[in-house]
């Protein structure tokens, strides 16, 4: 029982005028303490819905159809709003993609820290000030005192994201969710933020669920990687396994489709994935990737793919000959 996050057979549906559509299907994953898990996927794969489900911020036309989410031993699937806010306060830290809209522009950084700290601890202004300053320093901000007097718009993008991380960690959360935290940043600042997250995770035994659209970033940060496509987990494994021996046709195709800094002009032909990205408006019982898959058989289109596991490396594909 050292799983910080456990998701079991989670199904989430959206109600739209055309009917009910599944956005997440049979999603199961677990995170051990101190582990960094990256969730990789393109737009519409369900990764944002996964985050919103975990932090219980689904839009009003969405609902959990079945399945369970357990955070640190606490089942939040049927929790009431009082329990939910207690879980959010004490066990969750969230780092959003856009720190500018996640921070309140009307308050100084110090004030925002104070408000956050007060949710869990009764500390005086001076005590919370010291605590926040220490956390900002831990997040690589040297002039913490100075930064705390400023308003969010006075900070650069990279600095804002550091403040955001410090704020997510201030209440010692058991689970940190980072939703594309580097997408809005330049590549050199992205690298600093990724390094910071890794260092903090190691030092503080943090459990991190890191959402990203880029497999390269996932490789930089994660211990294990989960690949999403069309609302389903298609493959899950350690970072090295996944990059060295990708099993699912989608993962394989992804690795061959993006340009790499290693190969120059005419050194490698990119292998595009044919077809259009899965849209959950065209709901299917079968494998979401089947319409674009070069190996798809008829059964792929109408039967949900079984998940097979090999030494912790999971893959949801009916292509048995690959095993």
């Amino acid at each position: 029982m050292n799983n910080i996050l456990e998701i079991e057979k989670l199904n989430v549906v959206y109600r739209i005028p055309e009917g009910r559509r599944h956005v997440l299907r049979d999603v199961s994953l677990e995170l051990k303490k101190g582990e960094i898990m990256a969730v990789v996927g393109e737009s519409g794969c369900g990764k944002s819905t996964l985050v919103n489900t975990i932090i219980s911020l689904l839009p009003s036309n969405a609902m959990i159809e079945s399945g369970r989410i357990i955070i640190d031993g606490k089942d939040i699937t049927n929790a009431d709003s009082y329990e939910l806010s207690s879980v959010r306060r004490n066990r969750l830290g969230v780092v959003f993609q856009d720190p500018f809209s996640a921070l309140d522009p009307l308050y100084t950084i110090e004030k925002q820290f104070h408000e956050t700290i007060r949710l869990t601890e009764k500390l005086s202004k001076a005590e919370s000030h010291d605590k926040a300053a220490a956390m900002l320093r831990a997040c690589g901000i040297k002039n913490a005192e100075e930064i705390m007097k400023k308003y969010p718009h006075e900070l650069s993008g990279g600095l804002r994201q550091r403040v955001m991380i410090a704020m997510a960690l201030i209440n010692d959360p058991t689970l940190v969710i980072a939703d594309e935290p580097t997408t809005a940043l330049d590549v050199t600042i992205q690298k600093e933020i990724l390094q910071l997250l890794r260092t903090l995770a190691r030092e503080r035994q943090l459990t991190v669920l890191f959402i990203t659209h880029s497999q390269d970033i996932a490789f930089e940060i994660a211990d294990r990687i989960t690949v999403f496509y069309g609302g389903r987990i298609v493959e899950q494994g350690t970072r090295d396994d996944l990059f060295s021996f990708p099993l699912h046709p989608y993962t394989q195709a992804l690795l061959n489709t993006i340009p790499s800094i290693r190969y120059g002009k005419n050194e490698r032909k990119l292998m595009p994935i044919e077809g259009e990205i899965f849209s959950f408006l065209n709901e299917t019982e079968g494998c979401s990737f089947a319409p674009r898959c070069p190996y798809a058989r008829e059964s792929c289109f109408n039967k949900a793919p079984a998940v097979r596991e090999y030494n912790g490396h999971k893959c949801a594909c009916e292509m048995e000959e690959k095993w």
Binding site: V23, S43, G44, S48
Partner: protein, 274 residues
């Protein structure tokens, strides 16, 4: 358009307002046109086909006065709305698209103009140009124009930044082409919504000015003027005051509903999946 027709409130408002407008056009043509001859022997005549709404304290047919009054209130404010939206759109579009000095002048003028109460603007214009129906409409139009200009200008500014405008420029298209083919098409829903909301505001302005006898004076049965005319009878013959009031309120309410319906129909928020 389909979306609008699905909105029942807006549809009902549109039907009621159209009926009101039509009856103000049609009934005076059918003989209900004499709003000013006095028949002192026919005070408060019983309700009949000849006097559907009875008569007033001076024996004038009240229904005729309401219908002809509608022509004034709804008609004059329609004229001023057309003027305000037409010129407001042209000025707002040019100002936003061209930018620079022109834009700065327009913006400052709008700000200055919207700081002055519109009643004052109307009085100034009418004193300067003269008292007449045409000037009256023009005056309301000018008073309403700043808000139209500002809204259209903001809409054009956001369209102007879109990359398809840049693409058209690189293709060598003229400004006239870009404004007529791209910009207008993209702000057209804003213009339509502006038209409706300006119409509502103009009706109120028209009635208020009528009530205050600025630009419109008795015996012209403008609705606001009628409220003032009969105000001394409010205790004995309350309907003479309340019916014009009701007509003003219903018109403005209908137009507000239509505006809201249009806004919802033309500005569809797509379902957000991710």
């Amino acid at each position: 358009m389909k979306r609008f027709l699905h909105n029942r409130v807006a549809l009902a408002a549109l039907i009621i307002f159209t009926l009101l407008l039509l009856s103000c056009v049609v009934f005076p043509l059918l003989g209900y046109s004499d709003y000013e001859s006095l028949h002192l022997d026919q005070q408060y005549a019983p309700i009949s086909l000849q006097h559907p709404f009875s008569t007033d304290n001076l024996g004038r047919d009240f229904f005729t006065r309401m219908m002809v009054g509608g022509r004034y209130t709804l008609g004059l404010s329609l004229v001023s709305t057309v003027l305000a939206v037409l010129f407001g759109t042209v000025i707002g579009t040019l100002s936003a698209y061209k930018g620079g000095l022109l834009d700065r002048i327009v913006v400052s003028l709008c700000e200055a103009l919207s700081a002055v109460p519109y009643i004052l603007i109307v009085i100034i214009i009418e004193v300067a140009l003269g008292w007449g129906k045409g000037y009256f409409s023009l005056a309301i139009a000018i008073a309403r124009m700043p808000s139209v200009i500002q809204t259209i200008r903001a809409a054009v500014l956001s369209v102007r930044e879109k990359e398809f405008i840049s693409a058209a420029k690189v293709l060598g298209k003229s400004d006239w082409y870009i404004i007529t083919r791209h910009v207008m098409r993209n702000v057209y829903s804003t213009i339509l919504v502006q038209f409706c909301s300006t119409y509502g505001a103009s009706i109120v302005a028209c009635s208020v000015l009528g009530y205050l006898e600025i630009g419109i004076s008795s015996p012209v049965p403008e609705w606001g003027r009628m409220v003032a005319d009969y105000f001394h009878l409010i205790q004995s013959r309350g309907h003479l005051v309340s019916i014009p009031c009701l007509f003003i309120s219903v018109s403005v309410l209908c137009i507000t509903m239509i505006t809201n319906g249009l806004r919802d129909a033309l500005d569809p928020k797509e379902y957000q999946h991710e």
